[in-house]
């Protein structure tokens, strides 16, 4: 293997890290006030968790708990760049077929097990055990071999070029669990998490709250907060009322109307973290009518996305034309995405010549239904009839996976690497290709995106992917997700990170 090349790529990584560190030190927020020690931070979650083990982590709620008790191997910064966390050094082969991680020395899990190469290897082997049915197993499917090549050095060999892989280490898969605790608790590890993170698990009252206390031995230095409480509060109105009454410090994914109100009243801090993914109308390419490109173009031209954004999101979301949210901003460039043009839509439908009647599957969540109804009316204006078929969230996922739909309102919260937003969905062999879209040109681009670690080259590849998607239209993009949290103004040190998760290790409370 070409080692001189890999060294230079490592050097590039390191210089990026240093630049980021320097930026963080001189940022005005950090200079303005010294963090105060102590206090309890309560965060309102939409639901109680299935468990506190990365094996079962799925939504924002679980990831929030994950970033409280665990550390990821890498992290992302405000600009969406990968930065070191448990791994201080990261090398990749120029063709992205292997990666080498150097771990931070002296880091201990909360049970005093050292977080070394053996622990990291054990962690990945556990996640890759098919019997345990890890929810993000697809992220690790490309690994051929993972081994400890030194006490603090882990080498990961891939089956094929995988430039997208490092980003996985900043997500759920990178949350390293204590191998001792996994052995000790067995199946009950779900309720007894042990990580290296800024907070130590203390207590879980099921259906109500989870308490974490400060990790006094944290490798990064003193943790400001005394404790973090994650509270399960299914009702949105109650979450907002609790925030206003001072019973809660942070509401994640706040509803648009409350964000607008908070911006006006200026009594709450608004943290707009941007996002990684998008919402869209997904098209089953094998279904009648929509298999014809002219019909898909007409449907795209008929949707007035600015109005839709105003109706559904009070204008807060950004209209989308690509699969890449603001956290992947450089990739958000496209030529030829169909603009709102009802006359053009009618013209295309006339060329198609047959009446178009659609079954429009949608989530039954109020805002999703509202969006579906608005789109239904927009389509009706150009002469397309559609019937909305509502599903609960589990049924919607099932219907999508089995391709038992014609067109469907759907969403993808997005990944940190652009590949995560396109490969599995648009590659003809993609594991989550729910549209049946198949285009050799697209396959070639997506494979090429995995085969190079050169950022400039990848940028150009994903822009071509955007252009191809705009031409073939398996998805009609609607808006980019927006992860907006509202917080009690006493909460300081909040950093907007595009995955929408609060990093509680940095947070402190003013008194």
């Amino acid at each position: 293997m070409n080692s001189s090349n890999s060294r230079s790529s490592a050097a590039r990584w390191l210089s990026t890290f240093c630049a980021v560190a320097a930026f963080a030190l001189t940022s005005p927020g950090a200079m303005a006030q010294n963090p105060m020690r102590g206090g309890s931070l309560s965060i309102g979650l939409e639901n109680d968790l299935p468990g506190l083990d990365p094996l079962v982590f799925a939504s924002f709620n679980e990831k929030q708990a994950g970033f409280t008790v665990y550390d990821t191997l890498l992290d992302i910064d405000e600009k969406g760049k990968l930065v070191p966390k448990l791994a201080v050094r990261f090398e990749s082969a120029p063709d992205a077929t292997w990666f080498k991680l150097t771990l931070r020395p002296g880091v201990m899990f909360h049970d005093d097990t050292p977080c070394d190469a053996a622990a990291v290897v054990a962690h990945f082997n556990r996640l890759m055990d098919p019997k345990l049915r890890y929810r993000w197993a697809a992220d690790l499917a490309g690994i051929a071999k993972i081994e400890a090549t030194g006490p603090l050095e882990v080498t990961i060999t891939m089956k094929a070029p995988s430039a997208q892989f490092p980003a996985v280490l900043a997500d759920v898969s990178g949350m390293v669990v204590s191998p001792t605790a996994v052995k000790k608790y067995g199946e009950n590890y779900l309720a007894n998490p042990v990580g290296t993170g800024p907070f130590v698990f203390k207590e879980w009252r099921r259906g109500s709250h989870i308490v974490f206390t400060r990790n006094t031995q944290y490798w990064k230095g003193p943790v400001h907060l005394e404790e973090v409480v994650l509270r399960a509060m299914p009702d949105t109105e109650t979450r907002m009322a609790s925030l206003k009454a001072g019973d809660l410090d942070i509401v994640m994914n706040a509803p648009a109307k409350d964000v607008i109100e908070a911006r006006g009243a200026k009594k709450l801090t608004v943290l707009d973290a941007g996002s990684l993914g998008s919402t869209f109308v997904m098209i089953n390419m094998s279904q009648p009518d929509v298999s014809d490109l002219r019909v898909r173009q007409a449907l795209a031209h008929a949707i007035d996305r600015d109005t839709l954004n105003k109706v559904v999101n009070k204008g807060l979301a950004k209209v989308a034309t690509t699969p890449f949210g603001s956290g992947l901003a450089p990739h958000e460039q496209v030529e030829g995405y169909p603009k709102y043009d009802p006359a053009k839509a009618k013209q295309l439908l006339a060329q198609y010549g047959k009446p178009v009647k659609l079954k429009f599957s949608s989530s039954n969540a109020p805002l999703s239904l509202l969006a579906a109804q608005a789109i239904q009316q927009m389509w009706k204006k150009v002469g397309v009839e559609s019937e909305i078929v509502p599903y609960d969230s589990v049924q919607l996922v099932r219907t999508a996976g089995l391709r038992e739909y014609q067109v469907m309102g759907y969403r993808w919260q997005g990944g940190i690497d652009p590949d995560r937003n396109v490969y599995i969905f648009f590659h003809s062999k993609g594991t989550a290709n729910r549209t049946g879209y198949s285009n050799p040109e697209m396959d070639k681009l997506l494979d090429a995106g995995r085969a190079t670690t050169d950022p400039a080259q990848r940028l150009s590849i994903y822009r071509q992917v955007n252009n191809l998607l705009a031409r073939d239209l398996p998805y009609l993009f609607l808006g980019y997700f927006n992860n907006i949290s509202l917080a009690n103004p006493a909460v300081k040190g909040l950093v907007p990170i595009a995955d929408g998760i609060i990093r509680p290790g940095e947070v402190w409370k003013a008194r």
Binding site: R135, E187, P234, E237, T238, S242, A245, V394
Partner: protein
């Protein structure tokens, strides 16, 4: 104890078993008819159809629904309610943790509702067809016609956001102290009580008015007893038969109300547990909660029957 009473007890027990069988079987079939299942809920967005099929096999979801029900029933009869698909918790433990929260909520609700309804009902009966009576009637209708979640949100905004008297949500267990515990349950119990209070008050008022027209009340008056002695000592007990029935039956109905209120106030009771289980297609959890609620419902009815005997001697004799 009389043989008539024992016979009634036998009938009740048989009824209990029939109802439990019917309720659990029906729930099993309904959750089974819903498209999508626990396998999809567990694996989520990223799973391939093959992953889902293999998990279905592992969980036994690919077996016939009757086979699965009989399997569940035979375990349940031995006291094994199974494990949650989602959290892998033992369901009996889950219910054990959460049932006390719901029971406490319901008990507090009834206490608050009765504490207001009994005096108000007596007052409305004694002063029937006066301004007091019609004012109470107006309030009742207003409270009855407002759905629980609206009352809940209004109470939250008034009592916690504006006045800051009670926490807007969340639960403190008895281990945090009785005061903190009651404080955390006050708003949800009041919300539920606001729907029960008017019913109880109107019921007591109606029965009380007819009691007050009885001859023995006239005799009592003639003997010169005070209004207080007549109302509380002579009229209240015979007037409270319907009230006791309804309070009892409502215990069961309130579990339904708790589903909404526990979700609204983020209380870790069996109502919220049931809602989550339905969303997650966590079938055994749904079964377990339905079993508990159905058992509770039937037992309460039995208890109400027994209470009659205490209040009304005629029931004891005639059986």
């Amino acid at each position: 104890m009389s043989s008539a009473f024992l016979r009634r007890l036998q009938v009740q027990v048989v009824t209990l078993l029939v109802i439990l069988l019917a309720a659990t079987a029906l729930t099993f079939i309904i959750t089974n008819v819903l498209p999508g299942d626990a396998a999809v809920a567990i694996l989520g967005d990223n799973a391939t159809p093959a992953d889902i099929a293999s998990l279905r096999t592992e969980l036994g979801l690919d077996r016939n629904v009757v086979v699965r029900y009989v399997d569940w029933l035979s375990h349940a009869l031995r006291g094994d309610l199974g494990k949650s698909y989602r959290t892998r918790e033992n369901i009996a433990t889950m219910i054990g943790d959460r049932l006390p929260v719901t029971l406490e909520l319901i008990l507090l609700t009834q206490l608050i509702a009765l504490a207001f309804a009994v005096p108000a009902g007596i007052l409305a009966a004694y002063r029937s067809r006066t301004k007091v009576d019609s004012a109470l009637a107006t309030v009742s209708i207003g409270l009855l016609s407002m759905p629980a979640f609206v009352k809940g949100i209004l109470l939250i905004y008034l009592m916690s956001v504006l006045l800051g008297w009670f926490p807007a949500s969340g639960f403190k267990s008895l281990s945090d102290g009785l005061g903190a515990n009651l404080h955390s349950l006050a708003l949800p119990a009041m919300t539920l009580a606001l729907a029960e209070f008017p019913v109880y008050m109107r019921l007591l008022r109606a029965d009380m008015i007819s009691t007050l027209q009885q001859d023995y009340i006239l005799v009592a008056r003639a003997k010169g007893l005070s209004v207080r002695e007549i109302l509380l000592g002579h009229a209240l007990r015979p007037s409270s038969l319907s009230l006791v029935t309804v309070v009892g039956i409502n215990l069961g109905r309130l579990v339904g109300g708790a589903v909404i209120i526990e979700t609204l106030f983020a209380l870790p009771g069996i109502g919220q547990m049931l809602v989550n289980a339905v969303y997650q297609h966590d079938q055994f959890v749904i079964q377990g909660v339905v079993l508990v609620i159905a058992t509770g419902f039937v037992l309460i009815n039995l208890l109400v029957d027994l209470m009659y005997a205490l209040i009304d001697p005629r029931v004891r004799i005639s059986g």
